[in-house]
């Protein structure tokens, strides 16, 4: 759009062009006023300046992006600290959540958490959190993240130094997690001592056989403890597919210790959770004492992703015994897509 160009451009008249001539532009046969020509020239120079600015931005970015790779030595240095100082029950939280390359290097004994949504995870099973951050990555906003993360969490010292410690391009900080609740008992860890059966509406039971680390039930149903995805979050839970109809799949546990809270959590795993439609029905979880009271119920609606949880009051037994028998059962009117996962934990008081 050179202001000097005098070629015409109308819908039906493509401009005359010679080899090497200036490009056509929005300047017609009429003479252009000097003011307008000046404005146009300025606009075009602004446009050229915009291109140069974009190019410099692009060039700078591309020349520095290789430098964002985190050297293996940085991970190794962090791994050494964790191997030395991490305690049972500790967890490593990644920031940004997707920086999972760390898992290649960190000691296997300390769980590493990083999933879409982990920024707001209470990590309530872990009294201490190692926050491993890569603050120099593009779009990384560690101060913004810390504003939410540090609520009910207090920094602890690493090597006698409180606050984040740099390991090259990584930063490591240790926190006391005041959102944690001590886990006194969990169904996942006690499944092999459980009684698992299919319960019909008339009260009849069909016992499930324990083999190969899981219970095998009629109609190809299984109950096993394993890792599953609940709205991108990895959870180790009891996989309990609802049998469909009025039947219930039941897992019964003896010697559940009395605790301030009995927490029941449940969700539909993976993409089955998202699915919705007329053919699907809610997934109902009931916690109770066999043949006695119902302690609580949890319903996972159709189309609901993620883990739902309910905290139940759970003191000593009616006879004052410090341990009780508890059952957890699942039911859904329709069998389809009800791939449910359940957690049952007895929790101590908060810190």
């Amino acid at each position: 759009m050179s202001p000097e160009a005098t070629s015409r451009a109308t819908p039906d008249d493509v401009p005359v062009r010679t080899e090497g001539s200036a490009p056509e532009g929005p300047v017609g046969d009429r003479p252009v006023s000097p003011q307008r020509a000046k404005t146009l020239r300025l606009l075009l120079l602004v446009e050229a300046g915009l291109f140069v600015a974009a190019a410099i931005w692009g060039l700078t970015f591309q020349l520095t992006i290789n430098g964002t790779d985190i050297p293996e030595a940085d991970y190794q240095a962090v791994a050494q600290v964790l191997a030395r100082d991490a305690q049972p029950g500790d967890v490593v939280l990644l920031y940004p959540w997707w920086t999972e390359r760390a898992r290649l290097y960190l000691p296997e004994g300390t769980p590493v958490v990083g999933y879409l949504g982990s920024d707001t995870d209470d990590l309530s099973e872990h009294p201490r959190i190692w926050l491993l951050a890569a603050p120099d990555l593009p779009k990384s906003d560690l101060p913004g993240f810390l504003r939410g993360f540090q609520r009910s969490r207090a920094p602890l010292a690493i090597d006698g130094q409180t606050g984040a410690k740099r390991f090259g391009k990584l930063s490591l900080a240790l926190y006391r997690n005041d959102r944690a609740r001590p886990v006194l008992w969990s169904a996942v860890d006690n499944l092999d001592h459980a009684r698992v059966y299919l319960e019909h509406p008339d009260g009849q039971h069909e016992t499930c056989r324990f083999a190969g680390g899981l219970f095998r039930c009629p109609h190809n149903l299984t109950v096993g403890a394993g890792w599953h995805e609940l709205f991108y979050q990895p959870r180790r839970c009891l996989f309990m597919h609802a049998p469909g109809g009025p039947d219930r799949l039941v897992a019964e546990f003896d010697d559940v210790p009395a605790a301030p809270t009995l927490r029941v959590s449940a969700g539909i795993v993976w993409e089955h959770a998202w699915k919705h439609g007329k053919g699907l029905t809610p997934y109902d979880v009931t916690v109770g004492e066999p043949g006695q009271t119902v302690l609580g119920r949890l319903r996972v609606p159709v189309g609901r992703e993620g883990l739902l949880q309910e905290d139940l009051a759970f003191g000593k037994g009616a006879d004052g015994s410090p341990a009780r028998t508890v059952s957890v059962s699942v039911q859904s009117d329709r069998f389809e897509e009800r791939d449910g996962c359940v957690e049952l934990t007895a929790l101590g008081g908060g810190s």
Partner: protein
Amino acid sequence: MRDLERSRAPLRMDVWIALAIFVGTVALLWATESTQGFPRDESFYFYAASHFASWFQLLLHAPAQALSDAAITRAFDYNHEHPMLAKELFGLSYLTFAQTLHWLRPATAFRLPAFALAATIPAVLHLYGSTLYSRRAGLFAALCFYAVPRHFFNAQIACFDIPIAAAWLLVVYLFWRAMTDRRMWLWCGLAFGLAVAVKHNAWFLPFALAPFSLARGLVLTRAKPVARSWVWAFVGVYVAFAVLMALVVLGFGPQAFLVRFELLSPQSLLIFGLWVGLGWTLQKLRAQDTKAFRALAPLGAITVLGPAVFYLHWPYLWYHPVDRTAWYLAFHAEHVNYAWTYLGTVLREPPFPLFYVFVVTALTLPVSLLVPMTTGLFALGARTALGFTRRFATWRPSSGELLVGMNALASILIISHPDVPHFGGVKHWIASICFLALLGGEAVDRACTAVTDALRRRSAPRPSTGRLEGAAVGVGMFALLITPAALATAHVHPYGTADYGELAGGIPGAATLGMQRQFWSNNVSGVLPWINDHAPPGARIWLHEVTDLAFRDYQRNGMLRADLQPAGGPEDAQLAAYQYHQEFREQEMRIWQAFGTRKPSYGLYLDETPQIVVYQRR
């Protein structure tokens, strides 16, 4: 001096430049192809192309048998959701260069025609841009196109997204040429036939071209009532066809319409009538006004040659044209939705976000190319809008420029419809980017002119140095704008589906934004050397998302050890390679469960983002 109203043929020098660009592009794609993994779809197309190669051999040795319905169905039934042109070329190349001459490994032989089809894009961009705008604009459009990492990736595989973009561009270019140049309407029709033989996207093309044909035809016959009446007659033939066909559909009902669609049926008669009617009205129009004829003839050619070439190129249709075409169209009309991660949400079903295509385009194009393309499009829009005012009437763009603008938006707007499946990164609207590249070329050209003018004003150089100054500004601007994109392409190659531009913060920035990490499974090529070094002899390997065909292709092409066995899942595997997708997280947990560990052994991490994570059974 050339009059573009008389001929839009490129200058000889520009033809040579286009040829050099074509050869250079093929050479570049070929030279860098060997590390490229095999996307899921490519493994299907390799297989389909090899079926075609077998059929072609049968055709040479036993033609009567090859032409039987049974032999054709056997050869072409596989992957009949896509027409055959590209696959025929892949298959012929494989037959020639791998099976017969043993010059190339199978994958390269299959891909060779894809390189050639891909190379037509920058070549045509240069021809188009240099004629419509300037040589500098054409050259920029051509050179910037494959500097885009995702374009470069798509150009290197034997799939259809780049071929259909090339065909779309070629049809529009020939359509534009046909407005002035003799017989070009026929080539335009033929090119459209080839386009629909590549992929179904091309069926939308007539809707992007028809308004231009009709508007030009009406404007040119403004003072010629007889010619104008033939323009309306031409339109009337289409309207009559549409009305009568609709009546037949209503009369028969949709099912019976298909069942009764035979050679001698009202439906066939109507199609034949349409073709004859178009030919007759065009003949009459030609006698009245050659220019108006040239405006409408491409549409006529498209209407006749499109379906004809589509039918003839695809033996699968020869015995069952109606039901198989109906199945094909229905397949794409009801295409399934694949899960796709976008700004932290996994999109699984419509309605999809309205601005998805615009956002993804902005986040994936290198910023140094995105900016000129955007200002080019906005300048065209502004000139169009201002052109309606009396004061700025002379700013109104030419129909050629509007045609480019329309096609720059066509694919983008089609895919933007909230009910159209959204997956596959940018590959489904690359045709639009071809035209955005032209607009970007024009924008860069005018910026270069403005800078050159400003320099001249300041220094008032001798006339002899003016041209040199212009060239220097051009070279400098080209280098500045294209280098960042080329660096990005080199940086991410061969993992183009994972690429994001500067606006997204590159690959790590996009991960934080919650964008799709990768797709199509080809990034697994990054961990194959490690697997070859560490897998026990005869080990069972689970390559998540990699098709069995692709597994075999990696072995056939020497990228994966031949003794390794594909496993059906982590439960029966010794080694597993998980593709990091948000929608597949459960699969990684299956591996943890089956292997008894959550600690990976190896992985492909691009700028720290996990792409492929490898586990070994404990």
